[in-house]
């Protein structure tokens, strides 16, 4: 019974919630489709986090999608061991990049007071789910190899059976627990998708790839601003202690 709950009821519920609430949120509050960039607050750790994460996760998701859409071609490609090794190593590289990225981003979010100030509860949930998902994925790639082949023979028939509304669990029931957790955690990610910053993947600003650099700087003179500063404006949330200190000294405060 719990198998039906986790591998039939949960996926359909997750998919329905994801689709309906994604459309609902877009129509109701389209401008909230954003990753709420925190780059302005810090950039050093973000580089190793964000770039590694996005390359890694896009590569890993594409790999899963190719396996789902072209199972026979993947098996044909893996017919020569060298090609199988190249595909698996590439997959593992994407997984490791994603892992390095998400760990780095999690550490940054947890340790930087500025980033923590703009972190919502849903951000914490998303980061935790992604951290679990990527860790499980890398573990599976390393210890239950060669996933590119058996994903096609064991997991894809199940996913296709869901798609065809004829769920068939016999392929995934005997799989190791770690692999099942990876599947269930994916459904949980689908459920939180429309309620989180993950929706930004639907509005990727592809034009940025061709756009020239924009250099953003603060164009004010600190000393002159200090001299002419009136009483500080409202305090930014989450940095109250330092803001209080500055306010007491009559310095300008970073406001939003």
């Amino acid at each position: 019974m719990h198998n039906n709950l986790l591998y039939i009821i949960l996926p359909y519920t997750a998919f329905t919630v994801a689709v309906v609430f994604t459309i609902y949120r877009y129509r109701k509050d389209g401008f909230s489709y954003s990753s709420l960039s925190s780059q302005f607050l810090e950039s050093k750790e973000l580089f190793y986090g964000s770039v590694a994460w996005h390359f890694g996760v896009i590569g890993a998701l594409t790999g899963h999608a190719i396996g789902f859409l072209f199972p026979k071609s993947v098996l044909w490609f893996n017919g020569v061991p060298v090609r199988l090794y190249i595909l698996e190593t590439t997959g593992l590289l994407f997984g490791l990049l994603a892992l390095v990225g998400i760990v780095s981003l999690t550490v940054r979010r947890a340790t930087s007071s500025r980033v923590r100030a703009v972190t919502s509860k849903m951000d914490v949930v998303v980061v935790m789910l992604l951290l679990i998902q990527v860790s499980l994925g890398v573990y599976i790639a390393v210890f239950y190899r060669w996933g590119s082949s058996w994903f096609v023979t064991s997991a894809v028939p199940y996913l296709r059976s869901l798609w065809l509304l004829q769920p068939d669990l016999k392929m995934i029931e005997p799989l190791p627990l770690i692999i099942k957790l990876h599947i269930v955690n994916f459904y949980l990610l689908l459920i939180v998708f429309p309620f989180s910053r993950l929706v930004h993947m639907l509005v990727v600003p592809l034009q940025y790839l061709w756009r020239p650099y924009q250099i953003v700087i603060w164009n004010w003179n600190r000393r002159r601003a200090q001299a002419h500063a009136p009483q500080p404006a409202r305090q930014p949330a989450g940095v109250a202690s330092s803001a209080d200190e500055h306010a007491a000294e009559g310095r300008p405060v970073f406001t939003r």
Binding site: I23, A52, L97, Q166, R222
Partner: protein
Amino acid sequence: MRIHLTRQPIALSLWLLTVLFSQVARAQTAPLAAAPAGPAVSFEKRCYSCHNIGSGNKKGPDLNGVTDRRTRDWLHEYIETPAAFYRKGDPTAVELFKKFAPEVMPDQALTTEEIDAILNMIQALTRKGEVYVPPGAKLARVMGLTDVYAGWRLFTGRDKLQNGGAACISCHTLASAGRLGGGTLGPDLTTANIKYRNPELISILQNPNFPTMSSVFAAHPLSDEEIVKLFALFDHHRRQNPTAQAGATTYDFKFPLLGAITLIGAVVGMNWIWKNRHRGVREEIVRRSRI
């Protein structure tokens, strides 16, 4: 009643789920009944991968004398739904699951008559003190010199399996599988012919009734010719190292090491591609913001 997407997402979700689940429920059809077979053949196809009668434990217990140890009702219920029986807390089932972990016996879609016929056969063999010998566990022809290489080509996927099954290397490794070895979802098969005697191994190749394999290979069975070639390969590995310990396997760390090296290369590459990124500008902003 008209549902407005922008106003009632919860109602719309529930409506969609109702439609989905009603379709799913309609699509669930009864499994096709298998053609009736004699108990010896049923046992070979469904049970012999994991159970012997009279020649020792395999992945599951030797069934010699099981009809004397347990009641018929108990056996019927257990064979049909072993995991459910275990979850119910039956002490014997709990003990068996513990002893043979991590193997979990899958539910068997056998009819009551088929189960009874198999149990009668077990009882008869036990009374006579005989050992079960699978009737079909024979190679279709004598192995030839080229079969080991042909088997290796099949194992590694260089030659496709006739009925469309995935190559063994997807889940299994072998001492000769390749530089990075084979898969590790299933066991290392280098010692397969040491762990399993000849008829057992042939029978497994004919009917791989292990939980993970049976679902994958039910629709893509190995051909008789492929069984000869793969058996020749496993037989060759047994001859190469007859004293190898069955089931012994060590994890080869070449693959994760290769992954770690490519990761370092990728991070260095990232730094090189974006070497002109504006470090200085943001450092200045961060510094100023800390006034």
